[in-house]
């Protein structure tokens, strides 16, 4: 079992009255509300957290979102390049450049190859379909993004694994007459690929390709269904049974000395869901492609789904948070692993919302020292019949 630290470098410093008055805290909140001096301090703090992780054996996830209070890693390759140089040992997952927003996957492949060399082969590459406010921020057509994502992945993979280029690409979404990425990646044939999705047809395709499937806040049932779909697709394709290292799960996480302390600090994390995802209807439920037309009545008739109050207890119960003293967290993760049929990489979202630098450093230290050792050499998850999963 591996533990990974995922921090989006949020910016919880915009006055509540501004956020309340705005119809969206992403994409359209003017950047006059973002103080670059505060951001510089946040960058220093989170990079220090990453250096701690490097020392104690927690791997690191970077990602990107744009134009909002939830994430200051907007220029992801720049940030990941810094991480590559301030760490020496742990793996770095970029989860990732938003390839459905970027016009040129070859440039993305070049950035990834460069990062792999900079980190001397410690890079993992993660793909996300993205959507919603990111399509607005990136001025990217929100329609057909799944097809666009797959074509971008295919082009990036070929660019990273073609030592005898140049080659030509004339696809539906991207054309490039002369692809020849220098440097080539440090790892051969290429860095590990991940994708973040709970979309079942996509999980099946990940299974056939052998990419790592990670879910974000999927909870027990959705995650189980996704992983079963992955496993079943491999079986159907005559491919070997996947190991637990093919499965990853991201959840809120806080490890404290005591359950009481962890719950108190952990309660600062759901800000991510209660505040930082507020977005205007044209960038969410009414954005083209946001829901399949057949699902529109259900999506449109319902009130806003954004929760305004989430307790640590309810998040733990849903398998969306691991929180407590080290033994409590170990127990929660083991239970989760059993219930989803095995998972080898837990991504902890800890420095999130209103959690401070000092609080994050403490949780990471406890996670590495007290939690991680108890998650090694676990007995195989008891085999259970795969639930019936439609492809």
């Amino acid at each position: 079992m591996e533990l990974w630290n995922h921090c989006e470098c949020p910016y919880p410093f915009v006055p509540a009255e501004v956020l309340d008055a705005a119809d969206s805290v992403r994409a359209s909140l003017p950047n006059r509300y973002c103080d670059p001096k505060i951001v510089a301090q946040l960058y220093d703090e989170v990079f220090e957290e990453y250096q701690l992780c490097d020392d104690i054996g927690l791997h690191i996830v970077t990602n990107e979102h744009h134009s909002g209070i939830n994430n200051l890693w907007a220029a992801s390759p720049v940030i990941t390049g810094v991480v590559a140089r301030i760490t020496r040992k742990v793996r770095i997952l970029t989860l990732g450049t938003l390839i459905t927003v970027r016009p040129d996957p070859v440039r993305v492949a070049t950035e990834y190859a460069t990062l792999d060399v900079l980190s001397r082969g410690r890079l993992d590459i993660g793909f996300v379909k993205s959507g919603a406010t990111e399509m607005t921020s990136g001025d990217a057509n929100p329609m057909r993004i799944r097809e666009r994502e797959w074509e971008a992945i295919d082009l990036i993979e070929k660019a990273l694994t073609s030592p005898d280029g140049p080659f030509s690409w004339e696809g539906k979404f991207f054309t490039h007459a002369h692809v020849n990425v220098w440097p080539r990646p440090y790892q051969s044939p290429r860095p590990e690929f991940w994708a973040a999705t709970s979309d079942l047809p996509t999980c099946a395709e990940l299974g056939r390709r052998g990419y790592i499937n990670t879910l974000l806040f999927g909870g027990y049932d959705r995650t189980r269904l996704a992983f079963d779909t992955y496993r079943q697709a491999r079986t159907a394709a005559g491919l070997p049974t996947p190991g637990e290292d093919r499965f990853s799960y991201m959840a809120f996480c806080y490890v404290g000395d005591t359950d009481e302390e962890a719950f108190r600090i952990g309660q600062k994390i759901p800000w991510f869901l209660t505040v930082s995802i507020k977005s205007a209807p044209q960038m969410s439920k009414f954005q083209p492609g946001a829901v399949a037309p057949d699902m529109a009545p259900a999506a449109w008739r319902g009130a806003s789904k954004r929760p305004t109050n989430l307790s640590v207890e309810s998040l733990i119960a849903q398998g969306q948070m691991f929180c407590g003293n080290p033994d409590t967290v170990v127990k929660q993760i083991k239970t989760f692993r059993e219930r989803v049929g095995g998972v080898g990489r837990i991504i902890m979202m800890t420095r999130q919302g209103l959690v401070t630098h000092a609080e994050a450093m403490k949780s990471f230290s406890l996670a590495a020292k007290e939690v991680l050792p108890q998650l090694q050499d676990l007995p195989p998850v008891e085999a259970r019949a795969l639930s019936s999963v439609a492809e």
């Binding site: 329609m143 044209q282 083209p288 449109w300």
Partner: protein, 265 residues
């Protein structure tokens, strides 16, 4: 249904079979069978209104997602209709299609009427000519699109329709709106609602042209319309008072009167 090569199109038809043919090219949603101008137009014309691929009940073929596709499709529609002369009315987004069609040229194209069309870029690079259909709050769009949103006829939906979603609507109505919206986005997300090349070719339009504009259109303002008309040889420009982006829905009598006068002239 109408078949254009491999493409099947749902078609709204109204009026005597032997009357002069009037092709309606719809905007962001297909023309409602209950649209308040239809019967008046159909007194003197055979009115034919296909639904674009991906709109209404028309299938959306794989990879059919550009204005190039739509223009060729409507050239095919003109080919397939039996009449020797066909007049065309294009509304909003459909006005853009109609302008592209007229620039491409077709021997059957008789007269052209553009109603609050989008499709060209007139202002500077930091001026937005066309309110952003997809990135603007529905309440704002609804306000910009209508002189008085309460005048929207039942069954018709204009720009900003999302602001009028309510529980009395049927699921089928919502599914249709969602599908139309998705399809519109394929064709028009970027550049948003215009073809950078179109402006320089409007001079090729040979058909007598009338450009109609709602006096209070806040989606594309009348000044844009005057500029548009000025680029089409000998085009007439007329304002429809007390209307927004959809004068055919908000002032159907004035709209029909303008159309009738132009087609008879």
């Amino acid at each position: 249904m109408m078949q254009i090569g491999p493409h099947a199109l749902e078609v709204l038809e109204r009026g005597p079979a032997d009357a002069p043919l009037l092709l309606l090219i719809h905007g962001i949603n297909p023309i409602s069978p209950s649209a308040p101008f239809l019967n008046d137009l159909a007194r003197t014309h055979r009115v034919v209104g296909p639904s674009h691929p991906g709109f209404g009940a028309s299938p959306l073929p794989a990879d059919f997602d550009t204005m190039y596709d739509l223009t060729r499709l409507y050239l095919g529609v003109l080919d397939s209709l039996p009449n020797r002369k066909i007049s065309v009315i294009g509304f909003s987004f459909g006005g853009w299609i109609a302008a592209e069609l007229a620039v491409a040229g077709h021997p059957k194209l008789d007269r052209l009427i553009l109603v609050d069309p989008v499709g060209i870029k007139l202002g500077g690079r930091e001026e937005r000519d066309i309110a952003h259909f997809f990135n603007t709050h529905p309440d704002t769009l609804n306000r910009l699109a209508w002189r008085d949103p309460t005048r929207r006829p039942a069954g018709s939906y204009g720009v900003g329709w999302q602001a009028t979603i309510n529980d009395s609507m049927s699921d089928a109505e919502m599914v249709a709106l969602a599908r139309n919206w998705d399809s519109l986005c394929l064709f028009a997300w970027t550049p948003h609602m215009f073809n950078p090349q179109l402006k320089r070719w409007l001079h090729r339009i040979k058909a007598p042209t009338l450009v109609l504009w709602g006096e209070h259109d806040g989606i594309v303002v009348p000044e844009y319309g005057r500029g548009y008309a000025g680029l089409i040889p000998n085009a007439k420009f007329a304002i429809i008072a007390d209307a927004g982006h959809h004068p055919e829905l908000e002032q159907p009598a004035a709209f029909v009167a303008q159309v009738a006068r132009f087609l008879q002239s």
